[in-house]
């Protein structure tokens, strides 16, 4: 064929080499999604072929020239039942299979490593627990379940990794999660798939899947000071959270040690499971859920902490298993306050 036009040929060849027809399968979930996809393609093809055969055959057999007089037929309950029940059965298989897959994709295993993702117009910011952060990129190790906790700082975004067949909306004001386990080393597309304004199509990035060794090396080379929890601790002191949440006998707020994952009794009589979302609400909208035995006196921190700050605080509270350091920090602060100037009005925070 190359004698047609070498230029055109080269052009076509280059094109075909650059084009793909099927995405890479790079996560443990991808083969499951593809299996269901092929099943759906199969039933679609069967359905389409049946309809095409019916229409095609009848068009030939009963066209006007061959079959000038139509035979009137009322209908057939048996046939109606057949073509109600068989598609319904197939659709129900698609439903059950799809539901199982959905639960697999959206229920992370307990040992998953958590990475926070903050979406904002128009970039993705990833916050690793060790304090490494990256923009429009995500480094992950192969063969280890990774959970992403997503939130948006402004509008709806959607975190999509086609090669992993996973996607999750990043929503303003609430955490969503998704998990995956990469199976192939390489670099894959990250897209924002929810229309989010001007530079929506530029809100793209790379998922870099590395061997555990390379990943460790990357982690070590990308440390930027403190871990998320350490940042959180600093913020905890700066915002004077410890003024109330210090487990002193006279403290005005509940102790936060081991609070993460526990079941909390509320003043309303109900109870709530403490998770990331709950902690976030408790910081930004404290009067929403008040712990039993405490007065609704906590002020809102709406507009005072960035999403990244909240994530650090949440990470810090997750690690709190005693109030020792909280009290230590508090003592230091108090001593400093007394030393510096008694003139400082009580209650004002000292900015470090």
């Amino acid at each position: 064929m190359s004698h047609i036009s070498p230029v055109l040929w080269q052009f076509l060849e280059k094109w075909l080499a650059n084009s793909s027809l099927f995405p890479a399968e790079a996560s443990t979930i991808a083969p499951y999604t593809d299996a269901l996809y092929f099943f759906l393609i199969l039933i679609s093809l069967i359905g389409l072929v049946i309809v095409a055969l019916l229409v095609g055959t009848f068009s030939v057999l009963y066209n006007k020239r061959r079959h000038p007089v139509a035979v009137q037929i009322e209908g057939s309950t048996l046939l109606e039942a057949t073509w109600t029940i068989i598609p319904l059965g197939l659709f129900l298989i698609a439903f059950v299979w799809g539901a199982l897959l959905y639960f697999r994709i959206y229920n992370p295993p307990p040992n998953a490593m958590n990475i926070y993702i903050v979406g904002k117009q128009w970039m993705w910011k990833a916050e690793h627990p060790g304090g490494q952060h990256e923009i429009n990129a995500l480094h992950i190790p192969i063969g280890r379940p990774i959970q992403l906790t997503l939130i948006s700082q402004d509008v709806f975004h959607s975190f999509s990794i086609p090669a992993f067949r996973v996607k999750r909306e990043a929503i303003p004001g609430r955490y969503t999660t998704v998990w995956f386990q990469a199976t192939k080393v390489g670099s894959y597309h990250l897209f924002c798939t929810q229309y989010c304004g001007t530079a929506h199509s530029a809100m793209i990035g790379e998922i870099i899947v590395q061997t555990p060794e390379d990943y460790q090396a990357w982690l070590a080379s990308s440390v930027s000071g403190a871990s998320l929890a350490q940042n959180g601790e600093r913020l905890f002191a700066t915002l004077s959270c410890n003024a109330c949440h210090n487990a002193n006998p006279d403290s005005r707020g509940p102790s936060l040690a081991n609070v993460y994952g526990s079941k909390l009794q509320l003043v309303t009589g109900g109870s709530v499971q403490v998770d990331d979302g709950y902690l976030r609400d408790a910081i930004l909208n404290p009067s929403m859920h008040v712990t039993a035995g405490y007065a609704p006196i906590m002020p809102t921190y709406q507009g005072q902490i960035s999403e990244e700050g909240i994530i650090s605080l949440v990470e810090y509270i997750k690690t709190l298993d005693s109030n020792y350091r909280v009290q230590q920090t508090l003592n230091t602060t108090e001593i400093q306050n007394q030393k510096q100037a008694p003139a400082t009005a009580p209650g004002t925070t000292v900015k470090p």
């Binding site: 039933i43 006007k64 007089v69 109600t84």
Partner: protein, 551 residues
């Protein structure tokens, strides 16, 4: 070529018809005649179809290359937003009901007009008012929220004409509420003697089901839009999480209308297909009751599946389960219809006139569109496929491949009735085939692109997606030609087309038993209906009687 029983003498247009009872612009702008209003709608929606089509052309042209090189990102966002808004609110929603439905429903049930002629005219004025808002916002610099007006993007973050466009959607919504109301009342109260519910043509059933959706669903859209406007203008905080609002609430409200809206768009088209398939296979529709009730079932189930647009948005896993199950159920009535239409052909006497070609196109494309809906209704695959080009391809198969094919089938089928003249048969068949081929080339590659992960509403894309995008753009060019040809020959036929006579297709509906174009009052005397729909034996008998009385 046509299947008409051609009489020997030269046909002439009737001396008196609804076009020539009155003249002048005012006689059109102040008319109460459902046929004139239908023609007003036909002109308006055709105009806006080409406006929306031009936008589509710009989108495909931009996507010819991976780089954002034809227009700026903001411009691209405005173009696809207006493409969506214009096509949905100004073309698809009113397309079949407001033109063909307006023209035909009163005649099909043996009435002289709709129940509320003035409200019918008001619908058209509301449509024009809504359209004017869109035009104003377009001229003022456009709007870039996407047709979905997603909050908080639309309320806090974009700086374009959201309010003007929102007012347009609000007003245009009432146009369809009034049309729906008019149809429901007319179908209930104004059927001719003997025209029982089960003697109604399936076109009437389909429009009836769509009318229920219009009347019940559209107000919810109006509420959602009002809340967006209040939030944008006064910051009331219903959808703003920093004020304790819930951004997902907007999505629930919006899709509570906008999912049923796709059935508002497709059901009347299904009605057209029933009429066309029956007429050109000379056979009653197989399983009349099943087809009629499947329309109603779609209308009822259609209200309970809205959250399948939100599977990945932090919906609880269990509510996603319920919505997925209901989505599977709503797919069944569509399958029933497809099989019934296919079975109608069995032992028929089929001729392949232009409307029938479009109807075949509909069956093929709608089957693909419907089945790919199952991919998206199934929870696990939806995660990968939603918000990609797969979804774009899916709804274009249903809306353009399905609805637009049905609309063109209907326009070609009833054109002789509406204008009294035939269009060139050969050319129209060529156009039908071009449309079909162009359509497949435009939208089929988008399924593959979607599975590859190409996100929708992207101004630029990674270079490896280019081949499929080039195919799609090439197809869109062919498709565009396919849509331009009918406009030309239909316009030509109004003056030069062969005179059609009252029943060129030899069809059974009441509309074919009166002159074309009809009289203003439709019937000189109200018919008494003593036969079921699609009763070809009755028609044959009647024709014989007529020949006898003339001879």
């Amino acid at each position: 070529m046509s299947s008409a029983a051609t009489p020997e003498q030269e046909l002439t247009l009737p001396k008196r018809n609804f076009y020539n009872t009155e003249y002048g612009l005012l006689s059109w702008l102040l008319t109460g005649d459902h046929k004139r209003i239908a023609m007003l709608y036909l002109f308006s929606i055709t105009f806006f179809f080409f406006v929306g089509g031009a936008m589509a052309g710009l989108i495909r042209l931009e996507l010819l290359t991976p780089l954002p090189d034809l227009m700026a990102s903001d411009t691209y966002n405005k173009v696809f937003t207006l493409h969506g808004i214009v096509m949905i609110f100004l073309f698809l929603v009113p397309s079949v009901p407001a033109t063909l439905g307006n023209f035909l429903i009163p005649i099909m049930i043996g009435a002289k007009d709709l129940a509320f002629p003035k409200i019918n005219l008001l619908s058209w004025y509301l449509y024009i008012a809504g359209a004017s808002c869109f035009v104003i916002s377009m001229v003022n610099g456009g709007v870039d929220t996407g047709w979905t007006f997603t909050t908080p993007l639309s309320t806090h973050y974009v700086n374009t004409n959201v309010l003007t466009t929102g007012i347009g959607v609000f007003i245009a919504g009432f146009s369809s509420v009034f049309t729906g109301l008019n149809f429901i009342v007319t179908i209930h109260r104004m059927r001719a003697p003997g025209m029982t519910w089960f003697r109604l043509p399936l076109f009437v059933w389909a429009n009836y089901a769509a009318s229920i959706l219009m009347v019940l669903g559209t107000p919810v859209l109006a509420i959602a839009i009002v809340l967006v406007a209040l939030e944008r203008a006064f910051g009331i905080g219903v959808f703003d999480p920093t004020k304790g609002g819930d951004p997902l609430l907007f999505q629930h409200l919006f899709w509570f209308y906008s999912h049923p809206a796709v059935y508002i768009m497709i059901l009347p088209g299904m009605g057209v297909i029933s009429e066309v398939i029956s007429t050109f296979s000379r056979k009653r529709v197989f399983g009349y009751a099943a087809v009629a009730f499947s329309s109603v079932a779609i209308a009822v189930f259609g209200f309970f599946v809205w959250a399948h647009h939100m599977y990945i948005m932090g919906l609880s896993n269990y509510s996603a389960l319920v919505f997925s199950l209901l989505t599977m159920l709503v797919a069944v009535p569509s399958a029933i219809k497809i099989f019934n239409w296919s079975a109608t052909l069995y032992k028929g006497s089929i001729s392949f006139d232009t409307p029938m070609l479009y109807a075949f196109g509909f069956i093929g494309l709608f089957t693909i569109g419907g089945l790919t809906g199952v991919f998206l209704g199934s929870l696990g695959t939806d995660i990968h496929l939603t918000e990609t080009y797969f979804i774009v391809a899916h709804f274009h198969f249903v809306m353009v491949g399905g609805m637009l094919m049905a609309f063109l089938a209907g326009i070609h089928f009833w054109w002789p009735k509406m204008t009294g003249r035939m269009y060139p048969e050969g050319l129209s068949k060529v156009a039908a085939v071009i449309t079909f081929v162009g359509f497949i080339f435009t939208f089929f590659p988008q399924f593959i692109l979607g599975y590859l992960g190409m996100p929708r509403r992207y101004h630029a894309y990674p270079p490896e997606f280019q081949v499929l995008n080039v195919l799609s753009t090439a197809g869109a060019t062919v498709l565009g030609i396919g849509y331009l040809i009918p406009i030309l020959y239909l316009a030509w036929s109004v003056k030069y087309g062969k005179v059609a006579g009252s029943n060129p297709w030899n069809a059974t509906g009441l509309e074919w038993q009166i002159q074309s174009p009809p009289l203003t009052e439709n019937f000189t005397e109200i018919p008494e209906v003593d036969h079921e729909a699609y009763d070809y034996e009755w028609l044959e008998h009647k024709n014989r009687q007529e020949v006898k009385s003339i001879g």
